[in-house]
Amino acid sequence: MASLREIKSRINSTKKTKQTTKAMQMVAASKQRRALAKAQAYQPYMEKIQEVVGSIATGDTDISHPMMESREVKKTGYVVITSDQGLAGGYNASLIRDLTKKLKERHKSTDEYTIIMVGKIGRDNARRLGLPVSEVVTELSDSPSFDEIKTITRKAIGMFENEEIDELYMWYNHFVSAIRQDVTENKLLPLTDLAEELGENASATPSYEYEPNEAVILEGLLPQYGESLIYGALLDAKAAEFGARMTAMSAASDNADSLVGELTLVYNRARQAAITQEINEIVSGANAAN
């Protein structure tokens, strides 16, 4: 049996760990609230842009734009959103697992796709697995502003426009609730079924005059729409990240609690045994002296 002192020090270190995990849990909870507020602040922008894009897409049938046309797929782009820090349960692991599985199914060689990676964990995993990564973004703030991610959104949309890639998917953890995140794959480009998708909302809007004309507006609007879809996913993923971390840390705190309980029991037993033994020794010593 371990010595009393060893058990004591294990109890203490477990308590210390619990303090840390408890603190991280609380930090994650407050960050999650902020991330959710941010996602909410973003909603009006998204809704409005969808409404306008939808009303253009449904209003006139003979509009066309490179971003709305599907072409033969030679190379696929993936935007993958992971976190910078671990300690978030299966948040990154399940995303990477599902992604690599899908990539193997869909592509024969690594030449057929490229990844735009957000987050250090994703970057390190991609390096380990030998996935082709063309762009990495790390150290985004906890509630990223649109400015911060403009470079990657522009890069992703730009790669499609320059025909470096022919379709674009987005992988991220969708925030379902504070304790649940779902790995999600979204096809971002091309926007082939835009009219059907956005048509419902658009029917209620008045028919607009377009100044100077629809084509010019789509030219500016569609990239903006694509960028805002990526931004929306990022906000969603951030909220999910903090949710995952909160759950993981609360589980860790609970584990620490039960571990401390068990160790305390062992400690008390060992102490009791030591006392009993001591008494025995004294009594038998006294008996021998008589």
């Binding site: 409005k48 502003s145 649109f146 100044e211 903006q224």
Partner: protein, 131 residues
């Protein structure tokens, strides 16, 4: 006097919301003024100042990368970034202005277009901030 409701919305949230008498903004084809009761219209805006005339004064907002949706009773300006004068970081704008100018002087720089846009944004911000 009749008024029209204006809201300026960015991905980071709403920047401005008010009832105004007239909106004037700069589009690719020139300056546009919108009064209450305007026909429904959608138009892209260029980097510049949006001026909002209201009772007893005028508000200014610097806008970049956006477009304007007009309805008879409501105008929505969607922009990737928009700032009111009090929210503008003058030092940062000055900095990015000189950076852009520096880049424009380097002829071999491939990103002339981006530098020009960034210069324009900085100048607009400074102008709106009144510095």
């Amino acid at each position: 006097m009749k008024t029209i409701n204006v809201s300026v919305v960015t991905p980071d949230g709403s920047v401005y919301e008010n009832d105004v008498q007239m909106i004037s903004a700069r589009t690719e084809v020139g300056e546009i003024g919108v009064l209450p009761g305007h026909i429904p219209l959608v138009t892209p805006l260029i980097i510049g100042t949006v001026r909002l005339k209201r009772d007893g004064g005028e508000d200014q907002i610097s806008v970049s990368g956006g477009f304007m949706e007009v309805r008879p009773d409501k105008v929505t300006i969607l922009a990737q970034s928009a700032e009111r004068p009090e929210d503008i970081d003058v030092d940062r704008a000055n900095e990015s202005k000189s950076r852009a100018e520096e880049r424009l002087r380097n002829d071999n720089d491939v990103d002339q277009k981006r530098a020009k846009a960034s210069l324009k944004r900085a100048e607009t911000r400074l102008q709106v901030a009144g510095k």
